[in-house]
């Protein structure tokens, strides 16, 4: 089993810390989800983990070998970026054909057959310049590159951002199919949380440059509850527990709790205890303080 380990990753842009001493260990053979608000540092972290940008402090190693400028390590990695239109220079003037040619040249495990098949399936016009593609097509290029790279650790940054719901469902299916066939490790960052929740075996929550949690998705959901009812009852039922995201209307009150091992919601109080979706857990953790 391979491990990609980031230790103490700090990144500073213009005097401000964008990532604060982040520690992250990724094991091979899983599908990870990385969720976080815009500006939380997801793209920055992913680009550092894949040696595309240097960390201001800290290290990234693959099975003990540093990844920076190291072709031996790099051949196991692939970072498929969100090709946003905003970019200005760089990719936008390139034709899709050329971009894919570069991918085929530099990604040692490139599967040309798969790439061609996906081009047909997505109906991608490879003669078009990347800057002129629709948002959906740009996402397709991101997805195509990631999948055909056949890299052991494949990172996808917001792969579904330009896709409509039908295309997104298709993406999850393709991803799962590829995972099933090859057992490759995928790390997918997204902020369309709910649909993706079922696909992620583990979820990493990034907020304001720090990792809030990294946990098996199902286990996280099994320890997260929304407790609501009359304010006093709720108070008693959750006393001693860490509370997130409180809501109050009139005499009723609702809170979110994440139970630590050994903790439980006290019995015998007249409260509704409901399970939460991953999206709601995320909102409770990272949403603005009301």
């Amino acid at each position: 089993m391979s491990k990609l380990v980031g230790k103490g990753i700090t990144k500073t842009y213009g005097g401000k810390d964008v990532l604060h001493s982040v520690d992250l260990e990724l094991e091979s053979g899983k599908i990870y989800g990385m969720i976080g608000r815009n500006g939380a540092g997801k793209t920055t972290l992913l680009s550092i983990l894949t040696a595309q940008n240097p960390a201001t402090k800290g290290s990234v190693t693959l099975d003990g070998e540093p990844v920076w400028e190291n072709p031996a390590a790099l051949k196991h990695l692939c970072f498929s970026r969100e090709l946003a239109q905003v970019s200005g220079n760089n990719v936008n003037t390139m034709k899709v054909k050329e971009y894919l040619r570069i991918a085929a040249t530099f990604l040692p495990n490139w599967d040309k057959e798969m790439a061609d098949r996906l081009i047909r399936e997505f109906d991608l016009d490879v003669k078009k310049r990347i800057g002129k593609l629709s948002k959906g097509m740009m996402s397709m290029v991101t997805v195509l590159t990631a999948l055909a790279s056949k890299a052991d650790f494949t990172f996808l940054d917001e792969p579904t951002s330009g896709l409509d719901v039908v295309a997104r469902e298709k993406f999850y299916k393709i991803l799962l199919e590829e995972y099933e066939q090859t057992g490759r490790t995928f790390i997918v960052s997204t902020h369309i949380i709910e649909e993706a929740a079922d696909v992620f075996e583990e979820v990493v929550v990034l907020d304001k440059g720090s990792i809030l949690l990294k946990e098996n998705t199902q286990e996280l959901l099994e320890r997260s509850f929304h407790v609501s009812g009359r304010a006093e009852e709720v108070e008693a039922a959750v006393s001693g527990l860490r509370l997130y995201h409180e809501e109050r209307i009139g005499r009723s009150r609702g809170v979110t709790v994440l139970l630590e091992p050994g903790e439980k919601i006290r019995d015998g109080y007249d409260v509704s205890v409901q399970r939460l979706s991953l999206q709601k857990v995320f909102l409770a953790l990272c949403g603005e303080e009301a």
Partner: protein, 224 residues
């Protein structure tokens, strides 16, 4: 991994060489078409003319193509390559490679033309040393500027423009001091420059520029 690099930059070298030679031909036909230096010699005269003019236009279009190409290599292509797993080190080597290769190839082509029996160019070796020296210096400058722009982005472009302005200003200033037209001054300057020194200086500038580019690119942010 190394092979991919060679394939990619090798292809770019071929493309640029093709562009240089094609544009040089077009320029020659457009500007000098019809002008025959050796009239009365018939076909031979035309050929001798070409031997003089074509190399000149080659150098001119090389300046043009390779400098713009190098800067866009740093600014556009290098980031994309790095985003697809190329290392910065090997990418800079690739750019240095095709520039050096370009200088060698162009010098070789010029040599080919001048060494033909029907050519009437004298002092071929000296001129070749001079030309390759100048080309190397120019390449070095492009590499350096490319790396600066790649690393500093928009700020780099401004630095580049300032640099050109300063350079042009110095040159114009020197021309004014010697009371000559800049064009004549340039020619004078070139004529009096020792060819061997030009060559050595060219290599020196190129190597330094390459090293500086490596250092600048090390910490370049790739945002594609």
């Amino acid at each position: 991994m190394g092979m991919g690099n060679v394939k990619y930059w090798g292809r770019m070298w071929l493309e640029y060489m093709g562009a240089v030679m094609g544009i040089a031909l077009a320029l020659m036909l457009f500007f000098a078409g019809g002008r025959v230096i050796y009239p009365g010699d018939g076909i031979n005269g035309i050929w001798k003319t070409i031997c003089v003019f074509y190399p000149a236009y080659l150098v001119l279009s090389a300046f043009f193509i390779f400098s713009i190409g190098t800067i866009s290599s740093f600014q556009t292509y290098l980031p994309v390559l790095v985003s697809l797993n190329a290392t910065r080190r090997e990418s800079v080597w690739g750019i240095l490679g095709y520039n050096a290769g370009g200088v060698m190839a162009i010098t070789a082509v010029i040599a080919l033309f001048w060494m033909m029996p029907s050519s009437e160019v004298g002092n071929v070796t000296e001129l070749l040393l001079l030309i390759s020296g100048i080309l190397l210096m120019f390449s070095g400058a492009s590499v350096l500027m490319g790396a600066v722009v790649g690393r500093l982005g928009k700020k780099g472009v401004i630095i580049f423009i300032i640099f050109c302005a300063v350079f042009g200003g110095i040159f114009g200033g020197m021309a004014a001091i010697t009371a000559q037209k800049p064009g004549d001054f340039l020619l004078d300057f070139l004529m009096n420059f020792q060819p061997l020194w030009a060559f050595i200086l060219g290599i020196g500038v190129y190597v330094l520029a390459g090293a500086a580019a490596m250092m600048l690119v090390r910490k370049m942010e790739v945002r594609v």
